[in-house]
């Protein structure tokens, strides 16, 4: 049982006890008066006792009646104030002077209500003050957003447009919000000459559901892409009160997405090439009967070589993926540059010899040790020197130079090879890019080596740059930061 119910029951019991007490006193007084009037009156002592009882009973009854009447009065006052609540909403409730439970309860209630009223008034004033400030804050935030935001009614007429919206969709300069207000957003979008407007306008013009679409400002993603989103404002069921429109310049994201798709497509193609060769050669060995032992050996060599190519390609793909995901970390340590270059020379020596190239190496005397990820930098140098050897015709020259400048440790690979066209100097660092020069088609390569080397250089805080001239040769410079002097 809960406390209020208990309180009510105790109050009822007290009232009943009070009633029985008064009834008992009344009975005693009546009985005493009866004894006094009709009883034997031979005893003065008895008469005096009866009179005392009568007087005491009447006094006690009077006191109790007065107390009850005061309580009833306080209840009446409370009832009066309560009955007038509706008519006097603004008038404060008054405390009452009544030393009763009802009175003190009522007075506590009045006090609590007054305190609450005061709190609410303070809250309201604070809220009003902050609403004004917040409104200004929201307006400023909307103005400084890069995302265009606008509000239209259900028939697409604009009632608000922020600065970014005007900048992204306004064809003329210095447009104000007023220039856009009242105009149809569909008309504004149409005026922007999006190349895919015809295909997309139906989605934006019909229905009430949220819609998001990408509109192209030119023929390719590089020209610019705007993402337009339409969200319904709450209204009656099935009929929105209007729409919120957002416009975002998603050109960079679209270019990144396209590059990623190209990367996947190229990776698939690159993986298929050795796989095709392995399958074709294996099947031919199994199905063609008149293959000579010499041809058989040649076929096995191709299969072996293509399987190796597949393995290398997968390793490089894993490296690139790790770099893309940011999960590749470099572990720098100090090591002797002579030792690293010796390893690279051992790796490429046979190829240099086979092609009849001249290979020279010059390391500055003051450069003995460097601080870097030895394994990754060694892979970079194998890539750079491997390219130099691959793309330099017999009799040519490949040079490796290492020196310390004010800012960098520079490792330079110079060749007298076929060179790279000027318009391809940036693209050669893209993944899977192969030069268009027809002279390179017989040379094995997957277009990942330079992309990998550039990423490794950047991971060290360095860079990889190229200079080249067709038929004269190329010069790749790997720059690694110099270690901090202690």
């Amino acid at each position: 049982m809960n406390a209020p119910v208990n309180a009510r029951m105790n109050a009822s019991k007290a009232l009943i006890s009070e009633f029985y007490l008064i009834l008992l006193i009344t009975c005693l007084v009546v009985l005493s008066v009866g004894i006094l009037l009709f009883g034997p009156s031979n005893s003065t002592f008895l008469d005096a006792l009866v009179v005392i009882v009568i007087l005491a009973g009447v006094s006690l009854g009077f006191c109790r009646m007065t107390a009850i009447s005061k309580r009833v009065e306080s209840i009446r006052l409370v009832e009066f104030q309560l009955s007038n609540l509706g008519a006097t909403q603004d008038a404060p409730l008054q405390p009452i002077v009544a030393p009763s439970q009802v009175g003190s309860g009522w007075n506590r209630l009045v006090k609590t209500l007054e305190e609450r009223k005061l709190d609410e008034s303070i809250d309201r004033r604070l809220q009003q003050n902050s609403n004004g400030q917040q409104g200004e804050k929201f307006a400023r935030a909307l103005r400084s957003l890069n995302e265009g935001i606008a509000i239209s009614d259900a028939s697409f007429k604009l009632s608000y447009a922020n600065t970014a919206f005007l900048n992204l969709l306004g064809k003329e300069e210095d447009l104000s919000e007023e220039d856009f207000t009242g105009r149809s957003i569909l008309k504004i979008l149409n005026e922007n000459d999006y190349s895919n407007w015809e295909e997309e306008q139906n989605d934006l013009s019909n229905g009430n559901k949220p819609v998001s679409t990408s509109l192209w400002t030119g023929t390719s993603v590089h020209d610019g892409v705007h993402q337009i989103t339409r969200l319904p404002l709450e209204g009656r069921v099935g009929e929105p009160a209007g729409f919120i429109w957002t416009v975002r310049d998603v050109t960079q994201q679209s270019i990144a997405q396209e590059s990623h798709e190209q990367f996947l497509a190229s990776a698939t193609h690159e993986l298929r090439t050795p796989l095709t060769n392995i399958r074709a050669y294996t099947e031919s060995l199994l199905t063609i009967e008149d293959v000579t032992p010499g041809q058989q050996k040649e076929f096995y060599n191709v299969i072996h070589s293509e399987a190796g190519r597949l393995g290398r390609l997968l390793n490089e793909l894993l490296d690139i993926q790790q770099l893309e995901a940011g999960s590749m970390t470099i572990q720098t340590n100090q090591f002797e540059i002579h030792r690293m270059i010796q390893e690279v020379q051992e790796h490429l020596g046979p190829l240099v010899e086979e092609k009849g190239l001249s290979f020279t190496c010059r390391i500055a005397p003051d450069l003995t040790t460097i601080e870097a990820d030895k394994e990754r930098v060694t892979s970079c140098l194998i890539n750079l020197l491997g390219n130099a050897v691959k793309y330099t015709p017999s009799g040519g020259e490949v040079r490796l130079l290492a020196e310390r400048t004010d800012e960098w440790i520079e490792i330079v690979v110079v060749d007298t090879g076929i060179g790279i066209h000027q318009d391809e100097l940036e693209s050669i660092f893209d993944r899977f890019y192969r030069c268009k020069d027809e002279r390179v088609i017989d040379i094995e390569g997957n277009g990942l080596g330079l992309a990998f080397s550039l990423e490794v250089a950047r991971l060290h805080g360095g860079d990889l740059v190229v200079e080249s001239q067709i038929d004269k040769g190329s010069r790749f410079t790997l720059r690694l930061p110099t270690p901090n002097e202690e």
């Binding site: 497509a265 090439t273 095709t276 399958r279 074709a280 199905t287 268009k436 027809e438």
Partner: protein, 126 residues
């Protein structure tokens, strides 16, 4: 002996195609680039053209478009090899360039030879 022009930039695959097709009785002319295939197709008449799609310089479709416009091989049966099937509008290529078939890498050389032989037989019957 049916004359076939093979354009394939992969050294290993080009050599194998030359081997299996010669073994099957074709007279094979091998080109390693799109532009050399276009050049060769202008000079000689072939019975079949087998072109790789991904080649430096000119793609297989570009070579075939040029051949169909102006060469002795305007009506020669043509086949395409590609690892990028999803990027090609095959239906359109059948209609515009009269491509007889597409071999998707990695393909079976045995199936390729059988397909090409079947095609030459059909052409001879007609």
């Amino acid at each position: 002996m049916d004359k076939i022009l093979v354009a394939e930039d992969s050294f290993a695959l080009a050599n194998l195609l030359e081997f299996v097709l010669s073994n099957a009785g074709f007279d094979v002319t091998l080109c390693r680039t799109g532009s050399s295939a276009w050049q060769t197709a202008q000079e000689q008449k072939f019975d079949i053209l087998l072109l790789d799609q991904q080649m430096p310089g000119m793609t297989g479709v570009e070579v075939l478009t040029a051949i169909r416009n102006d060469s002795p091989n305007r009506e020669t049966n043509a086949f395409l090899c590609t690892a990028k099937t999803h990027e090609l509008d095959l239906q359109n290529l059948h209609e515009t360039l009269a491509i007889k078939g597409v071999f998707h890498k990695p393909f079976s050389p045995k199936d390729l030879v059988e397909n090409l032989k079947q095609q030459t037989q059909v052409s001879t019957t007609n």
